[in-house]
Symmetry: C2
Subunit: 146 residues, 2 copies
Amino acid sequence: MPIVTAPASVETITRLRLVVMRLSRLLRQQSADELSPTLTSTLSTVERRGPLTLGELAAAERVQPPSMTRAVARLEERGLVTRVPDPVDRRTARVSISAAGSKTLTAARRRKNAYLAERLTTLTAEERASLERALPLLERLVGDQL
Amino acid sequence: MPIVTAPASVETITRLRLVVMRLSRLLRQQSADELSPTLTSTLSTVERRGPLTLGELAAAERVQPPSMTRAVARLEERGLVTRVPDPVDRRTARVSISAAGSKTLTAARRRKNAYLAERLTTLTAEERASLERALPLLERLVGDQL
DNA sequence: TATTGTTATACTCTATAACTATA
DNA sequence: TATAGTTATAGAGTATAACAATA
């Protein structure tokens, strides 16, 4: 471990930005037919963190409330989430995943993962381990709390 | 190098997908006022790989030709790239970065990097090193050829 | 008044399909 | 005919501003 904590280099940062944008584009294209990355991410958060208000969801997904209104409306149309009005504060409702939502998410995950998994086979086991070690760091970068 | 190459776990792949989408969203938001991630990425490719035809650019950025037509048109409007018609094949032209384009890219890089760099300060030097090791692997995942 | 969420509107990015110009 | 690129069109995702309902 180095003693001096040099800041990340300009080149590293630039490459990180570019590779993230390109990878996200690839993932978005790949999922054209199914649940979009945006809806998948939202549905995953609903599944993982239980019933949430729209505002909490927007904060978790780091989008503005109108964007989340739209995303939840789509998920609801497709029967993947339900909204239960808060009995105390009638301005809000809790969004929960439905049985169909869980099922859809599982199936979507399988297909989406298959695509990435196929690309990951080009890496050695050691390289994949290296990638796994970097994963929590990326998550901290986006402020992901498990 | 290990003998057995265990496949990446479902959980790892899922997390990789989600974190990439969230990070890309964060980066896109952050650059609302300046050069968008799409234009930045395109301009970076033009800078790095020299004069390219529109088709070559589309392939490099992994978008369809109409998307690239649009991106290049925007960059051209803003004087960041130039198109030089191919003297032999008059259907095509070579796209090059302009002096203004280089200048803009450098400035954009500085601002965009500042944002990511700030977030990277929450990592230890060792963690940043870990992230740097993973970077080329992510690049291979998207098929980035330097 | 303040907060939560929605509606209205606009813009970027991307795609597919159909077309034009050139080879 | 085949290829390179463009135009037409559509849809997702996101934002800001203005609004409505409730606290």
